[in-house]
């Protein structure tokens, strides 16, 4: 069995989840509480990766990450290397691909908090930042955990976008879903079956966890 591909998948899912939890929290906060012109435009933009075919996302990522693209050129200037076909490249792709699944449950959890609680925190002297850390986050833990599980599962299943940006370099960008595809291509059904089977208990366990979290969040 291709343990290396499974390892890359889990590593990618973990890094994506950790980065997105930190990144999505302020975006979800803005969408839940702030009022500013163009908010609905920003919200639609954040959810756009969910509505686009993965190959379309992959295509544009190739454009910006290529040595001639904006991000690719900047990266090359900084490090001398390329972003395409690297683990960092597919991590960026995976983050963009999963943003909606991080922001949406977090925003829902933040919106559920009664506004008067926040106002009470302000009256008690807490800045908006302190209120976010001391009141909003602790009262949205189940929503944040649900977001983490969703992002983890969703980035484990990414395929098209990663194949376009990262190709299939063993130990670097060859994730399990690509390994399955390649094994089937070469008629190696046994190898494909082994990897495919290993997904089922992982995904099942995470879904059970989500159900548990949803039950806990009910008062």
């Amino acid at each position: 069995m291709d343990y290396l591909a499974l390892y890359v998948t889990l590593k990618l899912a973990l890094v994506t989840t950790v980065v997105l939890m930190v990144m999505a929290a302020p975006i979800a906060y803005l969408l839940a509480y702030a009022r500013f012109p163009g908010k609905s435009l920003l919200e639609a933009l954040v959810y756009l990766p969910m509505a686009l075919p993965p190959t379309v996302i992959g295509f544009y990522l190739i454009i910006v990450m290529s040595p001639k693209g904006l991000i690719g050129r900047g990266w090359e200037w900084l490090t001398g290397g390329s972003l395409l076909f690297t683990f960092l490249g597919i991590t960026i792709a995976s983050i963009i691909y999963s943003i909606p699944f991080a922001v949406s449950p977090m925003k829902a959890a933040f919106s559920k908090i009664d506004r008067r609680l926040l106002e009470n925190a302000y009256v008690l002297g807490l800045s908006k930042r302190a209120t976010f850390l001391r009141v909003i986050i602790p009262n949205s833990l189940s929503g944040i955990a649900a977001a983490a599980v969703l992002v983890f599962l969703h980035s484990m299943g990414a395929f098209g976008v990663l194949l376009m940006v990262g190709g299939s370099i063993p130990g670097e960008t060859k994730v399990a879903s690509i390994a399955i595809y390649e094994a089937v291509e070469t008629m190696n059904y046994q190898a494909a079956g082994m990897i495919a089977l290993s997904f089922i208990p992982i995904s099942y366990a995470f879904l059970l966890l989500i159900n548990k979290l949803n039950e806990d969040s009910r008062p």
């Binding site: 009664d114 008067r116 002297g125 807490l126 602790p138």
Partner: protein, 237 residues
């Protein structure tokens, strides 16, 4: 310290336009029918809402002045504000809630003794009764050493017996507090029991005749009859 305010704000169905002041160690009760702008006025004092025009002066500090474009944020006004519910943070137990913004965390034990909730200190808010939650909310507000205490119908969601008990405790506590207290209610009995001064507010404006009219008018008569029914009943208790 005296709080003095003159506030104007345009609302959907009427305009708020009031002036009043309240000195230290004194309790002003703002009374009037529900939906008459009392909560809006108290929120403007807290800095949670911005008046269209007017001034809020606390001692020698200017908290709000529309002509000089001054607006001190709620964080910097250092006041205590207790409302009907939602003062307590669901993820913290009662002790941590009361100590949330305490000047000296050791004082919280004394406040818990005073409000008779010491045995509940480790409970979460949803595990105690509404009356116990409001006692804890009072502790939370007082532990901050507020310079002004705003109480917006703090006992209205409670049953009659609990409400009367807390009302009496508040009255006996009043003497030991050195800040001005502004208390909002729609209950005339409560107002007469607690107040040093009464400010009747109807549709955003001071209306000194409101209480008299409400008590003497027959139910079913005129437009204020609906608001009058409950205060009339409360005189029975």
């Amino acid at each position: 310290m005296t709080i003095a305010a003159s506030l104007k704000k345009r609302l959907k169905y009427f305009d708020v336009d009031v002036s009043f002041s309240c000195a230290s160690k004194s309790m002003m009760v703002m009374i009037g029918p529900s939906g008459g702008g009392k909560t809006t006025i108290i929120r403007m004092l807290a800095g949670l809402e911005v008046p269209d025009e007017g001034r809020v002066i606390f001692g020698d500090e200017v908290w709000f002045d529309s002509t000089r474009r001054i607006h001190v944020t709620p964080q910097k006004r250092r006041l205590g504000y207790v409302f009907q519910d939602y003062n307590l943070f669901p993820h913290l137990n009662l002790l941590d809630n009361a100590a949330f913004a305490a000047v000296d965390k050791k004082e919280v034990d004394g406040l818990f003794d005073l409000f008779k909730i010491s045995h509940l200190r480790k409970r979460k808010p949803h595990m105690v009764s509404g009356g116990e939650r409001q006692r804890c909310a009072m502790c939370q507000a007082l532990a901050r050493h507020p310079r002004l205490l705003l109480l917006d119908e703090p006992f209205s969601a409670l049953d009659v017996i609990t409400r009367r008990g807390l009302r009496e405790e508040l009255k006996s506590l009043k003497g030991s507090l050195s800040c001005p207290i502004i208390y909002v209610t729609h209950d005339i009995n409560e107002a007469l029991f607690l107040a040093d001064e009464i400010l009747p507010v109807v549709e955003g404006k001071n209306d000194d005749g409101w209480m008299q009219r409400t008590i003497t008018r027959e139910p079913g008569e005129g437009t204020t009859a609906k608001g009058a029914r409950e205060p009339r009943l409360s005189l029975v208790y």
